[in-house]
C-alpha cells in the first residue's frame, strides 16, 4: 500500500527580488516498509519537499500539489487540528540540524516525553519508559541519566540519536529523515541504520531518507530520487539507478565513486559549475549549463520525466532517445 503519494508538488517562497521556486513539480511515492532516498546537491529542495509534506514550510511559502496523500488521506484537505494529530503520530520527522532543532531550555526527557503524552494518552511514566527504551535502541548508554540533561550538554552525535528517538516515540507509519546520520561516526551510523531497518521490518514503516552519502543509500534505499534545482531528474529502484544511471547529473554525482555497484561508503561527487538561480525562471533543462552532453535542443523546452527501462524515469532528452545505453556509459 502506498503510504505517501505526492503528485506535482510545487513550493514557491517569496523572497526580496521575486519568488523562489524551491520545489518544482515533483512526484514521489513510498510504499509501506519501503525506503526512498532523496539525493542531490545542497539547496536543491530536499528539505523543502519534506517540510511541504509536514505542512511546516516557512510562513510565506506557498504549496501546491495535485495530490499529497498520506495513507490515502489528502493532506491539503485537512484543517490545522487534523494535521496536528498526524504530525508526530503518523508521520515522524528527523530534522537536519540537531543542534538548533531542540529547545535549549527543556530537558531531553521532557522533549521526548511530550510527543508520546500528546498522542498516546498514556501519561508520563509510560512515555518515559518508551523514551528510555528508544534511547537504548539508538545506542545511548545509561539513557535514564540522559533524560535529565539539556541539549547543549550532549555531543552532536548524541543529539542526532536523541532526534531519531524523538521521531520514533509514537511508532509512526511514515518517517521523514533529513540527513539523520551525518554527525555520527561509522560504527554508530551502521548501528542506527540497522535499527531503522529493523523497526521498518517490524512495523512496516515507510521512510523518506535524505542523504549525501551513497554508502547510506546503498545500505537503506529501495528506491532513489535524484533532485536538481527543485526537480526530480531521475528516479527508480536503487539497483537499477546504481547499475545504469540515466541522467547526466546522476552520472556526474556518482562519478567519483569508483565501483558504484558495490558501494559501501562515499560522498556524492562535486560537479563543476553552479546551480541556476531558483528565482529566475529556468529555460529548458536546468542542468544544461553544467552538462557535458548538452545539445542545442536542451535549451529549447523544459524536459519532462521520461520512462526508461526497468521503471527508471529520467528528465533528459538523451535518455529518452535511448542513447545512454550501458555500453555508452562504460566509455564515458
Amino acid at each position: 500500500m502506498a503510504i505517501l503519494e505526492i503528485e506535482n508538488l510545487d513550493v514557491r517562497i517569496p523572497v526580496g527580488a521575486g519568488v523562489l521556486h524551491a520545489v518544482r513539480n515533483i512526484s514521489l511515492q513510498v510504499e509501506a516498509g519501503q525506503t526512498l532516498c532523496i539525493v542531490g546537491e545542497s539547496g536543491c529542495g530536499k528539505s523543502m519537499s519534506l517540510l511541504a509534506i509536514m505542512g511546516l514550510l516557512p510562513r510565506t511559502a506557498q504549496r501546491q500539489a495535485s495530490a499529497l496523500r498520506f495513507q490515502g488521506t489528502e493532506l491539503s484537505c485537512l484543517n490545522a487540528r487534523q494535521m496536528e494529530d498526524i504530525r508526530g503520530r503518523g508521520i515522524g520527522m528527523i530534522f537536519q540540524d540537531p543542534l538548533t532543532a531542540f529547545n535549549p531550555t527543556m530537558s531531553i526527557g521532557s522533549q521526548l516525553e511530550e510527543v508520546h503524552m500528546r498522542h498516546m494518552g498514556a501519561g508520563r511514566t509510560v512515555a518515559r519508559e518508551k523514551a528510555i527504551s528508544l534511547l537504548r535502541q539508538v545506542g545511548i548508554t545509561s539513557p535514564e541519566s540522559r533524560l535529565a540533561q539539556y541539549p547543549h550538554e550532549l555531543s552532536g552525535g548524541l543529539r542526532q540519536r536523541v532526534m531519531i528517538a524523538m521521531a520514533l516515540m509514537c511508532d509512526p507509519v511514515l518517517l521523514l529523515a533529513d540527513e539523520p546520520t551525518t554527525a555520527l561516526d561509522v560504527t554508530i551510523q551502521a548501528q542506527v541504520l540497522r535499527l531503522l531497518k529493523g523497526l521498518q521490518q517490524k512495523l512496516s514503516i515507510a521512510i523518506v531518507f535524505v542523504t549525501h552519502d551513497l554508502g547510506v543509500v546503498a545500505a537503506v534505499a529501495d528506491r532513489i530520487a535524484v533532485m536538481y534545482a527543485g526537480e526530480v531528474v531521475e528516479t527508480g529502484s536503487v539497483r537499477d539507478v546504481f547499475r545504469a544511471p540515466q541522467h547526466p547529473y546522476t552520472q556526474a554525482l556518482f562519478g567519483c565513486v569508483p565501483d558504484i555497484a558495490n558501494v559501501t561508503a562515499g560522498r556524492l561527487g562535486t560537479i563543476p559549475g553552479r546551480v541556476p538561480s531558483l528565482v529566475t525562471p529556468i529555460q529548458g533543462c536546468a542542468f544544461r549549463e553544467r552538462c557535458a552532453k548538452a545539445m542545442e535542443a536542451c535549451a529549447m523546452a523544459a524536459v519532462s520525466l521520461k520512462p526508461h527501462a526497468d521503471g527508471v524515469f529520467s528528465r533528459c532528452l538523451l535518455s529518452a532517445e535511448g542513447i545512454n545505453t550501458d555500453e555508452e556509459l562504460t566509455h564515458a
Binding site: 509536514m54 511546516l56 490545522a80 496536528e84 494529530d85 498526524i86 504530525r87 508526530g88 503520530r89 520527522m93 530534522f95 540540524d97 538548533t100 532543532a101 531542540f102 529547545n103 535549549p104 531550555t105 527543556m106 530537558s107 511530550e114 510527543v115 500528546r118 498522542h119 539539556y150 547543549h152 550538554e153 524523538m166
Partner: protein, 305 residues
C-alpha cells in the same frame, strides 16, 4: 554554578561599595554641611561647634572609614530635620514604595506579556500595530501628565478611587497604574522581540512537527525562551520604578521613599537624601542579582556556563 553565584555575589558587593563611596563623596562635594546646617547668618563659633560635633573636622579618610563602619552596622546617621535615626525613617517609608513598585511592575508585566506575545504572533498585523502604538504612547507620555489624567477621570469624574494619601490599598491603584504605564513600553518591546525570535527558531518547528497544539508550542516552548531578557528588563524597570516613584509619590501624596527624598531635598536633610539614594541603589543591585539567579533557573545554558 557555585562559582557563578559566588562571582555574581562578589560583583554585587563591589558595586554596593562603589555606590556607598560615591554617595559619601557626592555629599562631601555638595558643600560645607556645617554651614548649611547652621543656617545663614550663624556665627563662626556655632559652625565650628557643629563641625566638631559631627566629626567633620577630622581627615576625610577617617570620616569615610567611620561612616562606612556605621553603615555596615546599619547606622545611617540622624536626620537633620526630624532628629531621629535615618534608618527608622527609611524603614517606615520603604514598605510604601516597595508595595507601589511591586504593584506597578506586576501590572506592567500583566499587560505587556500578553500584548507583546499577541503582537509577535503576527508581526505587522493589527494586534502588533495596537501594541506598538500603546508602547509608543507610553513612552511619549510624561508621567505627571498621565497621573493628572488618571486623577481627573478616575478620581474626580468617576470618583471611584481616592486621589491622595496611602491609607488603603485603593490608594495605591492610581499611582501603580501611572508607574506601570511608564514601565510597560520597554517590556512590551522585549517580549515582542523575544517572541518573534523564538517563534522563528528551529525548535518551534520541531515542536510543531511533534503535533503539539499551538498553545503548547507558544507557552511551553516559545515563552520560556523569551523569559530571560524579560526578567532582566523587569528587574531594571523595577529599580527605575523605585527611583521614578519620586514624581508619582509626590503627586499622590504617598509617603514612600520617593516622597521622603523630595521632602529631604527641599529641607536640606542631607543624611536622609544620602540614605534614600543608597537604599534605592542597593535595591537595584539586589534586584539584578535576583534576576540573574532567576534566569539561571530558567535557562540551563546559563546554569552550566
Amino acid at each position: 554554578m557555585r562559582t557563578f553565584i559566588a562571582r555574581r555575589l562578589g560583583v554585587s558587593l563591589l558595586v554596593l561599595l562603589t555606590i556607598s563611596t560615591l554617595s559619601f563623596v557626592l555629599l562631601k562635594a555638595s558643600g560645607d554641611l556645617a554651614i548649611s546646617l547652621a543656617g545663614e547668618g550663624s556665627g563662626a563659633d556655632y559652625v565650628a561647634f557643629l563641625r566638631k560635633t559631627y566629626g567633620w573636622d577630622r581627615p576625610i579618610l577617617v570620616q569615610y572609614a567611620d561612616w562606612l563602619w556605621r553603615l555596615l552596622r546599619g547606622d545611617l546617621g540622624t536626620s537633620f530635620y526630624y532628629g531621629s535615626p535615618v534608618l527608622e525613617i527609611i524603614a517606615e517609608r520603604l514598605p510604601v514604595t516597595l508595595k507601589l513598585g511591586a504593584f506597578a511592575i506586576f501590572m506592567a508585566l500583566g499587560v505587556a506579556f500578553p500584548l507583546g506575545s499577541l503582537a509577535a504572533l503576527r508581526p505587522d498585523g493589527w494586534m502588533d500595530r495596537v501594541a506598538m502604538f500603546i508602547a509608543m504612547v507610553g513612552q511619549a507620555t510624561p508621567i505627571f501628565w498621565f497621573s493628572f489624567v488618571l486623577i481627573l477621570i478616575l478620581g474626580l469624574n468617576l470618583a471611584v478611587l481616592p486621589i491622595s494619601g496611602g491609607g488603603t490599598t485603593a490608594h495605591f491603584v492610581m499611582p501603580s497604574i501611572a508607574l506601570a504605564f511608564y514601565a510597560m513600553p520597554a517590556i512590551i518591546r522585549i517580549v515582542r522581540g523575544g517572541m518573534i525570535e523564538a517563534l522563528a527558531s528551529d525548535y518551534i518547528r520541531t515542536a510543531r512537527a511533534k503535533g503539539l497544539r499551538p498553545w503548547a508550542v507558544i507557552v511551553r516552548h516559545a515563552l520560556r525562551n523569551t523569559l530571560v531578557p524579560v526578567v532582566a528588563i523587569a528587574s531594571v524597570q523595577f529599580g527605575f520604578l523605585l527611583g521614578g516613584s519620586v514624581v508619582v509619590e509626590t503627586i499622590f501624596a504617598l509617603h514612600g521613599i520617593g516622597y521622603l527624598t523630595w521632602e529631604a531635598i527641599s529641607q536640606n536633610d542631607y543624611p536622609v537624601v544620602q540614605a534614600s539614594v543608597l537604599v534605592v541603589s542597593a535595591f537595584y543591585v539586589v534586584l539584578t542579582l535576583l534576576a540573574d539567579l532567576l534566569n539561571m533557573l530558567i535557562d540551563p545554558r546559563i546554569r552550566h556556563d
